[in-house]
Symmetry: C2
Subunit: 173 residues, 2 copies
DNA sequence: CTAGAAAGGGTGACAATGTCAACTAGATTG
DNA sequence: CAATCTAGTTGACATTGTCACCCTTTCTAG
């Protein structure tokens, strides 16, 4: 039926509109709260990606270099380089795995812990300032919304490659 | 009263906890939907910041180079460089302002328009895929939440410097 | 048991990117 | 009209992350 077709088109174009609205909102929110909020450099001479790596190292005590690399979407040589820098700065430490002589277990140092805490505190202060006028109900709602988003986007939906098409950047072997 | 103090401390630590929860959620969401979702490179040989610049150029037809630079938080020489690249790639065009011989009005070309559209479509497809299992109510809720966040973070709250402390990167003159 | 493949990690060369400092040229102001 | 301001550009540079290739350790098939 023609009517069905027209309705279908209406529905589709309505959805498209909705997607685009969400898209704009997400982009802008990510701009304000994502890495750009760090101005490219966080503090204590850590770049944003170095910070991310350090957080991952802290989260999973004793992960291999490649694990860290995967978490921040670097090639393995890129991962080597970040760890190099973190180690040189005294925030992380390599140590050969006793179980497998090839892998390097990366561990965070106490200085590393304190620097991640410091950066997190900075960010929390920024957040508090930005969100100070919102009431608890709104904050609750925002947290719920973010949880929905994250649950939807999280890899556990693996099996299907769930990232944007990319012209460069190969992933791991 | 001691009880008041204890309550005060309770409230404060509760808020702190909440802020940290939101912080984690925001960071993770920004990770999934922000620039990193582009894998560093979007397509047609545009980096994420080049894409941002192009979007800004498209949004404000005829802005100066520094305007674009401010929008993406670059120094003016950085802005010059991005525009250089966009022009070389055929996505934007400089033209001296007739009103003021110093300023360069940057305009988007038709190829520029089509490339931004293409990238946006890619992103929309990604979003559709990720959010396909969410119902309309949830999507509505998410959009509302994002609007709250953006309204809170948007500069119009100017006057007070509202960005994270940064050890590097000076802003404009 | 051993040869060869596989896997973790590291390195040199390189390209991309964005900064600073200094410069040019057009606009403004006393 | 001289001094100053402002927009934009450029050279030199530091940072960053990639690729291609290498070494070393582990695994596996015959």
């Amino acid at each position: 039926m023609l009517v069905d077709l027209v309705n279908y088109i209406k529905v589709v174009s309505r959805m498209k509109e909705k997607t685009h609205e969400l898209l704009d909102l997400l982009q802008e929110a990510a701009w304000f709260f994502g890495n750009r909020a760090f101005d490219g450099y966080c503090c204590e001479g850590l770049s944003f990606m170095e910070y991310q790596a350090l957080v991952e190292i802290r989260r999973t005590e004793n992960s291999s270099i490649q694990d860290v690399g995967k978490a921040i979407k670097f090639t393995k040589s890129g991962a080597t380089r970040v760890i190099d820098r973190l180690e040189r700065k005294g925030y992380a430490r390599r140590q050969r795995s006793s179980a497998d002589g090839r892998v390097c277990c990366v561990a965070i140092t106490s200085r590393g812990k304190s620097v991640t805490s410091k950066i997190t505190e900075n960010y929390a202060a920024y957040l508090d300032d930005v969100l100070k006028d919102l009431d608890v109900r709104s904050l609750e709602m925002i947290a719920d919304a973010l949880r929905f988003l994250i649950a939807a986007a999280r890899p556990p939906k693996v099996a299907s490659a769930k990232s944007l098409p990319s012209t460069r950047r190969r992933s791991f072997s």
